[in-house]
């Protein structure tokens, strides 16, 4: 049973997330019937599931809310901000109730839940009190979708024959049939056998009847309602022919003859007699005069309809998802990682042995392995939209708290990223958006005075760029104040008073720990921890941050992240007999470094690359290799924190699909290495954390400078 309750919890979280998104959209479009329907359905499903799994408190609360939204759905009650507020609070409360259950706590019905329940009940009572006199005159025919039985499709056989004089009342039977079509999957066959010859026909009379096969989630009353105004002018017969098992399979396999027998159009002995011949059953039956061609047509339509229903069901079933615990996926990815390593060993050995048969097998394994790796990785990919939708609530609540008018716009919600990356991205994004709201976007009056619209905009956009995802957080607020940042950095001793910094380097200073130019500390931000958290978070994701800002116009923070953390594209390099991996994402190019180049720089670690002076770090020095450096080395240039830095290695070997292995607890203090990987021949290569190497070098240089002063 616990397994089922766990399934409910997972479903509840999804439903609550969907509810929150729909409610926030509904607040913007209060008349949108689709959104109202979405809210109602999510609430209804939540109520149903919670009741089924014994979460009675949740069921009670959602029941009260559902009642109110039922009124909204039927157009009797309007949506307003107060209702949305109340519902969002209710969602929070339900979330707490679900989480409390997760933690194994007993959940007494909280006062908040009782209060919310009461508020929804009194809202309904107040409304009913006011609406009663009008409701008495309403006489409204319930809309068909109000009687929808969710996820429970039934198949109906409808026989409809209007009276001959139906046109005289202004009724067009085709419009009624179109309404039936709107209820679901529908096959309609006209019965024309009563149409007389031209000498007898009354051109303004209706001689046509219809046989309709309908598969719908609506109940029989919804169908009857369509014909409610013509019930005195027609013969209507609706039969629910859904198999008791709910299974259409048996029906599909039923032969035409069986359908005709079941419909009472022919008798079973007649059918048996006819089956002795070898012609098609439909032709035989018509030729024999046992049944009219039209009835065969109708039975064929029924057969076709049922077949189609089944096919659609199969498509839906095939497309349906299954829920798999995340750990199982992680294990799968680990195993695929191991396989990638083994496969690369196999490829290496096959090349060394030069055995054509072995090479052939190795190539085949390599091809399959690449597919397996890509497929496995794609399973872990999630659309970033689920994370985006959470921020809508954040923006709404925070802007209200700060008295600002801010709207969040999102782009590229469908962009997919590894599940782990998405999870770890949440905190940095929260901080960035908080900063936009608190520091970036001005108060409405200030904006107006500056000639901007009162409403500020925060844009959250995601897009794929090669093996990376670029996430942009842009606001149209005040922009960063370069002077204030500079002053603060000098005050804190982060930069020298005479330091010359580019705009990019200046803005990068706000990523330093404890750096905040906010004059006041609010509950939202200003403590100078936010951007530090962002930097740490993004570093941990092997990502980069770029800040672009224009005073008075706004700022953009651009995060570049790898699609996955399990396998990355790396550049394999060698120093002496040791191998290292540099994440390809940060790398710009590789150029040679000769003794002549070194001589030209007069002992300074700089090189001129494409007309630009690039400082470099010699990794053999950073890792204290004792041997002689080769006459020709390689500089791998990278872009780190907005600046260009080169790393000098003995040899660049080439691109390498790197399965990341963690270094374990023993090495947790080694910051300059982010992990390790195993090469094809079993050698271990360390994965370099390039920004950390630069930081360490800068620290050592600063210490050196200070020591030389004394």
């Amino acid at each position: 049973m616990d397994k089922f309750r766990e399934a409910f919890r997972e479903e509840a979280h999804e439903l609550l997330a969907e509810l929150e998104t729909s409610l926030l959209e509904l607040e913007k479009e209060p008349g949108d019937e689709d959104l109202i329907g979405r809210v109602f359905r999510a609430m209804h499903t939540l109520k149903g599931s919670s009741g089924m799994f014994g979460f009675d408190d949740i069921k009670k609360l959602t029941h009260d809310i559902e009642n109110v939204y039922d009124m909204v759905r039927s157009g009797k009650m309007a949506v307003n901000s107060a209702l949305i507020d109340m519902t969002l609070r209710a969602c929070d409360e339900v979330k707490k109730m679900v989480e409390a259950e997760e933690d194994g706590e007993a959940v007494p019905e909280s006062e908040a839940a009782l209060a919310i329940s009461g508020a929804f009940r009194s809202l309904l009572e107040d409304f009913r009190g006011e609406a009663k006199p009008e409701a008495a005159h309403d006489g409204r025919v319930p809309r068909a979708d109000e009687e929808k039985k969710e996820g429970n499709a039934h198949t109906y056989r409808i026989s409809f024959r209007p009276a001959a004089d139906i046109f005289l009342s202004g009724t067009n039977p085709l419009l009624l049939l179109n309404e039936v079509r709107d209820l679901g999957l529908c096959d309609i066959v006209a019965r024309t056998e009563q149409i007389p010859s031209l000498n007898e026909i009354d051109p303004e009379a209706c001689y046509t009847g219809w046989e309709v096969m309908l598969t719908s989630e609506h109940d029989i009353n919804a169908i009857r309602d369509i014909f409610i105004f013509v019930e005195d002018q027609c013969t209507l017969d609706i039969e629910d022919i859904t198999d008791d098992s709910g299974d259409e399979e048996a029906r599909e396999d039923r032969k035409l003859g069986e359908i005709l027998v079941k419909r009472g159009d022919i008798s079973e002995p007649d059918l048996r007699k006819i089956l002795d011949s070898h012609k098609k059953i439909g032709e035989i039956l018509v030729e024999s005069g046992v049944v009219g061609a039209e009835k065969v047509e109708i039975a064929l339509a029924e057969q076709k309809h049922v077949r189609e229903v089944k096919q659609r069901k199969q498509v839906v079933e095939a497309a349906a998802s299954i829920r798999v615990p995340a750990e199982k996926l992680d294990r799968l990815v680990n195993m695929v990682g191991e396989l990638v390593t083994v496969q690369s060993r196999l490829s290496q050995i096959s090349t060394q042995r030069n055995d054509p048969l072995l090479i052939q097998v190795a190539e085949e394994v390599e091809r399959l392995m690449a597919d397996l790796r890509d497929n496995t990785m794609s399973i872990r990919m999630l659309a970033i939209g689920s994370t985006f939708s959470r921020f809508e609530r954040l923006v709404r609540d925070l802007s209200a708290e700060l008295g600002k008018d801010i709207v969040l716009k999102t782009e590229g919600a469908e962009t997919e990223l590894d599940k782990t990356v998405i999870e770890k991205l949440n905190d940095p994004l929260v901080h960035l958006i908080r900063n936009c709201i608190d520091h970036g976007i001005e108060a409405p009056a200030v904006r107006e005075a500056a000639g901007k619209p009162r409403q500020g905009t925060v844009l959250l956009a995601a897009e794929h760029a090669g093996a990376h995802v670029v996430i942009t957080i842009r606001d149209d607020g005040a922009g960063l104040d370069g002077e204030a940042i500079r002053a603060k950095a000098i005050e804190r001793g982060i930069i020298a008073p005479d330091a010359e910094l580019s705009e990019r380097e200046l803005y990068a200073l706000i990523l330093q720990p404890g750096f905040s130019t906010a004059r006041k500390v609010t509950s939202v931000s200003g403590r100078g921890v936010g951007m530090d958290v962002v930097k740490k978070g993004i570093d941990a994701l092997q990502g980069t941050i770029e800040i672009i800002s224009k005073k008075g116009k706004g700022s953009s923070i651009i995060l570049k992240l790898p699609l996955t953390l399990a396998i990355i594209d790396g550049l394999l390099v060698r120093i002496e007999e040791s191998y290292f991996i540099m994440p390809l994402s940060a790398i710009e190019e590789c150029v040679e470094l000769t003794n002549a180049d070194i001589a030209r720089a007069h002992g300074k670690c700089i090189a001129e690359i494409r007309g630009e002076i690039v400082p470099y770090l010699r990794l053999r020095d950073a890792f204290a290799f004792a041997g002689q450096r080769p006459a020709i080395e390689q500089i791998v240039t990278t872009r780190i924190n907005g600046g260009r830095v080169g790393f000098v290695v003995d040899q660049v070997i080439g691109g390498h699909q790197t399965v990341i292995k963690s270094m374990g607890q023993m090495c947790k203090d080694i910051k300059t290495v982010s992990g390790a990987t195993i090469l094809g021949d079993g050698t271990v290569a360390l994965i370099l954390d390039l920004p950390k190497i630069v930081e360490q070098a800068e620290r050592e240089e600063a210490v050196g400078r200070n020591n030389s002063r004394y």
Binding site: F167, N172, P173, L174, L177, N178, I188, V189, A190, T192, E193, I195, P196, S197, L198, N199, I201, P203, E204, C206, Y207, T208, W210, V212, G282, E283, V286, E287, G292, A293, E294, V296, E297, L300
Partner: protein
């Protein structure tokens, strides 16, 4: 709205405009007259801009009347979109004629339309 041309291979009745209940009597009369007079009647409905159930019934009726008289009714230039649309809505489009083998030339067997 109705135009009749008599040729060597039978008469052609060309109909244009709206074939709805408002014109149903006129349409019936035109059909009745020329079904009586012709052994082979080509019915050209290409110019029909709107049709309702009465139109479909009259076409059916004309076809049946001619079959009963062992005459031929042909649709001269296929059915126009307006009639096909109504025929589909009304469930007239079918795979077999209503009188078995002898009616395989049923007006409503519209191969391209079935299954759409």
């Amino acid at each position: 709205m109705f135009e009749l041309v008599e040729g060597e291979r039978g008469a052609t009745l060309t109909v244009s405009g709206e074939l709805t209940i408002q014109n149903a009597s006129v349409f019936r009369d035109a059909l009745r007259e020329w079904v009586e007079k012709s052994d082979v009647l080509h019915l050209d409905l290409g110019g029909v801009t709107d049709a309702d159930l009465t139109c479909l019934q009259l076409v059916c009726s004309a076809h049946r009347s001619m079959m009963n008289m062992k005459k031929n009714l042909n649709m001269a230039s296929g059915l126009p979109g307006s009639i096909i649309k109504t025929a589909r809505e009304a469930g007239f489009v079918r795979e077999h004629g209503c009188r078995g083998e002898e009616s395989n030339n049923c007006v409503w067997i519209i191969r391209d339309e079935v299954g759409k």
